[in-house]
Symmetry: none
Subunit: 259 residues, 2 copies
DNA sequence: CAACTGGGTTGCGCTCATCGCAACAGATTT
DNA sequence: AAATCTGTTGCGATGAGCGCAACCCAGTTG
């Protein structure tokens, strides 16, 4: 335990591991935070270190402790910092557009960005459906996300192929594992401004997504709508056009020169 | 410079100071980040330390660096951390506020979120009254819930009208079925931070609600208090202000930058 | 071109903050 | 009362971070 990694600030890493655990309920439902021992065990670290680290984090407002259960959860300061990040602006601008999409089709609408080879979902606008899988703040490999096709639309073909070859063998096979199909999807995204994919890791029947460009014309994000039932072809095109329009309007709102 | 404070983890404090600087443009509009020297000078710290700390922070995704200008900005990881734990935190943090409201007026207090065109009640804090209608986990159409007016406060007028027209004919007529009254209510919610509605589907005499904003500034939820007897006008305003204050405090606790 | 300036990184000893153990203190359970 | 689970703290060894200074790189300036 606690290997001698040659790397830099170990303290930072430790603190972030702790924060990740506190954030990482992910699949579990609403827990009321986590205790020191549980966290220590999960991270395979000394209880004492976790205890001390948490106290420091608490003093700084990064975590807070329920006075009665003595369990920790993320604190206000983290949220305040997050509010000031670049992404926050993107979120605020995109909210109305996502809302419109979500209500128009009564399906969840998302805004995603590319982070390395992962697709990070920034906002999820829930539909009226009973269960709403929470994707916000979650990263998935780019090849498994519908939005991935939109986000990679501007990449050179070679880079895309490289990425696919590196990732595909290891991972599960995506909806369209075929390389050529991917290239076709990317071309579709470029020419029509949207792209549909059949199956996703979600329990949905597919998804449609469209690239969003910033003021420099670079693809900064993608909107995507996951479909719980597979629509007929004409309907799919209709949805696609709606999403493409939405993405275009959002791009314009971000300063992308209309064309 | 860099006093010998007797305190705990100095590294954490340093990192957070740096993050605060990166976040703290506050008044200035979109600067494209800050350079090492500038930050070091502002914090009265060694350039070398700031440089090293920033590299570590970047490796962890807490900050990101513009490859061309070499300036640093807050990174995606902050956002991801905050986003993932947002709803869980909402429930946790709101409990004391709801309790306070419930006891202050001896009426049931609720926390509701928007799911598509439905209002879902996440938490109900019972008053001391004998019968407590259980609302937790129940969805009602947005036009029939008091909290709906708060939750829609940020929507564009056109979207609201669209929703009203789609829903009203089919459904029962709500307390305020009149479109203009709705728009007035939304405006009231925006300017005063709360809104009252006369009658609800509950067996109550009305309800007062207020919007709660998350760290991104989006309306994430609404607090509402249902009233079993209709109060006099001045009393209603008093209650409204109390709820608006509560919602504001809750928003702040969620990381909404006060302003 | 050489000298200068300002931003950023890195080498390197010294020292102090952090580590892990183990003991301790409460709360709950048996 | 013993057992167990929680979380906190004392303490000595040690290694990580500190600050200085040297350095690299790009622009400016003479």
């Amino acid at each position: 335990m606690s290997e001698k990694l040659p790397v830099s600030s170990a303290g930072l890493r430790r603190d972030l591991e702790i924060l990740d655990v506190l954030a990482g309920h992910g699949d579990e439902r609403d827990t009321d935070g986590f205790g020191v021992s549980w966290i220590a065990q999960r991270l395979d670290r000394e209880k004492s270190q976790v205890s001390r680290a948490l106290r420091a984090l608490e003093a700084e407002g990064m975590v807070e402790r329920d006075p009665v259960t003595r369990r920790y959860r993320l604190g206000w300061r983290l949220f305040a910092l997050a509010a000031r990040s670049q992404q926050a602006r993107l979120v605020q601008v995109s909210a109305p557009f996502l809302r419109r999409l979500a209500t128009a089709f009564d399906e969840d609408a998302h805004l995603c960005v590319l982070r390395g080879d992962q697709v990070l979902t920034l906002v999820s606008m829930p539909s009226s459906r009973a269960y709403h899988r929470i994707w916000e703040g979650v990263s998935v490999p780019v090849i498994m996300a519908a939005a991935g096709r939109s986000l990679l639309a501007d990449w050179e073909p070679d880079r895309v192929r490289e990425l696919l070859r590196a990732k595909l063998p290891a991972g599960l096979d995506s909806a369209v594992s075929d390389e050529e199909q991917w290239m076709a999807d990317l071309a579709h995204a470029r020419t029509f401004g949207y792209v549909a994919s059949d199956v996703e890791l979600d329990d949905s029947a597919g998804a449609v997504s469209a690239p969003v460009r910033d003021h420099r014309g670079l693809i900064a994000a993608a909107v995507s709508v996951s479909l719980t039932r597979v629509p007929a072809r004409p309907r799919l095109e209709e949805i696609g056009h709606a999403i493409a329009d939405s993405a275009r309007a959002l791009s314009a709102a971000l300063g992308y020169p209309a064309c």
